[in-house]
Amino acid sequence: MSAATEAGVQPSLAPLADALGAACREPSPDELAALAIHGIRPRLVCVPQSVAEVSAALRVAGAAGLAIIPAGGLTQLGLGAPPRRSDVLLDLRALAAVVEYAPEDLTATVQAGMRLVDLRRLLAERGQFLPLNPPLPDDATVGGILATNAHGSWRARYGALRDLLIGSRVVHGDGLVSHSGGKVVKNVAGYDLNKAWVGSLGTLGVVVEATFKLQPLPAARGWSEAAFADVAAAVGAAGRLARAPLPYLGAELLTPRAAAAVGLAAEHLLVVEWGGPAAAVARCQREWPALAHAAEARRAGDRQAAPPTATWGSADEVVLRASLPLGHVVPLLAELESQWPAAGAVAQALTGTIRAAGPLELGPGAPLVRHLRGFATALGGWLVVERAPLALKEQVDVWGPPAGPLELMRRLKQAFDPAGIMNHGRFVGGL
């Protein structure tokens, strides 16, 4: 950034508006509410119609010192620390084409602005799917899901985006268009740069195209559930499940408050989703009560559908997300219940990811987050603030300590986004 921008003088939008022409517009007052991040509003919205336009936009923005906020379906725009500035919101939803779908190879290449729901529809026609169940699939785009590493309970069976993404085409912060990986399911040619982009929150550049490894849709799906007296018993059942070679897709553990919040009885509830041949699913459902009762379940049986947990937590609640080693989920859940009794928690009980949501007063909020983060870190895990009002984010680091040397991450950011225009300030360590 130039000295002028540091001093608070806003750089001119003209170079970008000239370069992209009709693809850019001033946002209307109605739009701004949805496009602002903690009150920080973009001055220009650009909707590039081609990869070349994305590249041109970033090249010009870098030279002009314009801060870029890439965006897809706006489902997770509030994630991360508030950006230092927002000059241009780069709306990628016009890049929504299917580049190549090869059902016979179980691979698909799509542009990043495609909505997950549309991709699902396309693949389902051939009995296939991208085995990922992140929140809000009707709005979320492929690019947004990649940038935020969004996922759901199916990760237990199929892995997450770092496992499913086999190729990508990206525009670096300085406009360089490169690809890595390819469209074959096994590939070790050159560095696996796909990994750099998953979960990087758009701070390195923009993913414009993604190739995924697909899976056949399971012939049958089914659900089982069990209720437990406490967290320890419920997690104990999940631990037995994790060690068993059963065809689960995933399992979710709901604390009583979370269960109540989604309209179920307030109890410690473990819900397992099975997927596979009908006979295998039927056997799992048949044998589930024995496994659950061995782990001291109060009751156990079938369920008709997944609990509606994907979007739980009201908009004014604070959401924390912790990742723990699988064997260390209990102490953190117990600490959450005792230190933040107003919150409910949903744990992906086979992968160790916990989301806790509840009302949190500003005064005690920051010390509580710091305490829980310290607790999670001591257990070998991490805790990030997924959603919070600006006032809380100003008091407590959203991300906490990174999972690796910050210096290496800083150099990576510098190498891919030398002008520092991409989502500046939103990621770990102020990157």
Binding site: P103, D105, V185, A189, P245, L408
Partner: protein
């Protein structure tokens, strides 16, 4: 570089018995499982990350390269010190540091032999999934360097899908941790960038891996076909029908004969090709899958479909497959194993083309490979007493990779680029793609200290195979 002074300082770090510097010793470390060779200036056998860090700092002071080496089973020259320098051997860092059952993780040093980890957790009904054919010898550190695969990666993914965290010695000689036992650590996925980076970004000194439950039931089928083409049509049909076996491997007639002589399994000697199809899961699931697979094989005219009757027969079947390269060593003085990947639907036409290429260059060809992934391993047999042989092999190899490129494939599914394929990179990656990789290299290793001369094309290369002066090593019976 003052070699004598460097050796003296290395001895001060690891002791006299940890440094090998005689001509005889260095000769033994000039190989991997492929055909390129180069001698290091000195071999060091560290016992700890602290020692590795001290060695890397010394290398910085002396301005010499550092090349990490596992068991030397690699097939792309990944651990060949083409620019000399210090070769780090990890034979003494071979402890399984921790088996963490509650978290389903293990922490290992890089010198741990791949199979030893699965053996150490088998009594808990757990496994470490990646199973390269060299798993009896290759190390997990080497697997991390190359992002190794194996037959069972079809259903469960390659090394990168099973590595959660690393301890790393950086170019500055610092010991740092990346990733961890838990998923989704905040920040960039440095672990994912390091796995498969062929030792060019740092030296890994500890690895956190995922442990997975062993399946309830396994069914291993042997499907016999009259030709490679028919067998590959069956593969395309199986994948296209949405059946993903745990493993789906092909061996052609040449391979079969060699393997039969070595194992006496009772492979059909009149077959053109066989598929080994392994199904894993619940008993109910694999029965259903076996029926599906059988029907699909019959659609393309399978000659015979056999099921391994028991664990012994199953083990023998796999022994044949995993030791196939060694068995093929009986047929020729030398061979060259390739590693390309094509979309699975393209297997029949690509295999036809490879056969034609081998015929054109007058080379005998064997095919034994991970068909379910589309990961080919054509093996070209030759005799280096024939003065034209090596050049013909290299040219034929390059042509095979051009075929892979033409159908949208990759030059390597699990062996790595190394020295072998660096000059073919431009067939698959344009200047911008290479530039992106250089950016990553500079982030970790700005002075190009680690494993120089790998991955990146040599200046001026444009997809043409350059003849090299290095001699071809005899590999008969070797090469995993």
């Amino acid at each position: 570089m003052d070699r004598r002074e460097l050796v003296r300082e290395l001895v001060a770090v690891v002791g006299q018995d940890g440094v090998l510097a005689s001509d005889y010793d260095l000769l033994l470390y000039q190989y991997d499982g492929s055909i390129d060779t180069a001698r290091p200036d000195v071999v060091v056998l560290p016992r700890s990350a602290e020692q590795v860090a001290a060695i890397v700092r010394l290398a910085g002071v002396h301005g010499v390269p550092v090349v990490a080496r596992g068991a030397g089973t690699g097939l792309s020259g990944g651990c060949i010190p083409v620019a000399g320098g210090i070769l780090l051997g990890f034979a003494r860092m071979n402890r399984i540091v921790e088996i963490d059952l509650p978290d389903l993780r293990a922490v290992v040093e890089p010198g741990v032999v791949n199979l030893h980890l699965s053996q150490a957790v088998a009594h808990e009904r757990l496994q470490y999934v990646p199973d390269p054919s060299s798993q009896k010898a290759c190390t997990i550190g080497g697997n991390v360097g190359e992002n190794a695969g194996g037959p069972h990666t079809l259903a469960y993914g390659v090394t990168t899908n099973h590595v959660l965290g690393l301890e790393l010695v950086t170019a500055e000689g610092e010991i740092v941790q990346v990733g961890g036992r838990a998923l989704d650590g905040p920040g960039y996925d440095l672990t994912g960038l390091l796995v498969g980076s062929e030792g060019t970004l740092g030296v890994v000194t500890k690895i956190i891996v995922r442990l997975a439950p062993l399946p309830e039931a396994v069914k291993t089928l042997l499907a016999v076909f009259e030709s490679v083409r028919k067998a590959s049509e069956a593969v395309s049909r199986i994948i296209g029908a949405g059946v993903v076996p745990a493993a789906l491997e092909m061996m052609d007639a040449v391979t079969l004969r060699a393997v039969e002589e070595a194992t006496h399994f009772g492979y059909p000697m009149d077959a053109g090709a066989v598929l080994i199809i392994e199904l894993e899961g619940l008993r109910e699931a694999i029965e259903e899958q076996a029926e599906q697979v059988g029907a699909l094989c019959r659609e393309v005219g399978v000659l015979d479909l056999r099921v391994a009757r028991d664990d012994r027969e199953r083990a023998l079947l796999w022994k044949g497959r995993k030791e196939a390269f060694g068995a093929l060593g009986r047929l020729c003085p030398e061979y060259y194993v390739m590693d390309g990947v094509v979309p699975r639907s393209k297997l029949p036409e690509v295999l036809d083309e490879i056969t034609a290429i081998a015929e054109r260059y007058g080379l005998r060809l064997a095919n034994v490979f991970h068909a379910g992934d589309g990961n080919l391993h054509p093996l070209l047999m030759f005799d280096s007493d024939d003065p034209t042989a090596e050049q013909r092999v290299r040219e034929a190899g390059a042509e095979v990779l051009r075929v892979c490129a033409a159908v949208g494939g990759s030059p390597t599914g699990e062996h790595g680029i190394g020295v072998e394929k660096r000059d073919l990179m431009p067939l698959f990656f344009d200047d911008a793609d290479i530039e992106a990789m250089k950016r990553l290299k500079a982030v970790f290793d700005p002075d190009e200290r680690f494993n120089p001369g790998k991955i990146f094309p040599t200046p001026g290369a444009c997809g043409e195979l350059k003849p090299r002066s290095v001699s071809v090593a005899s590999l008969a019976g070797g090469g995993w």
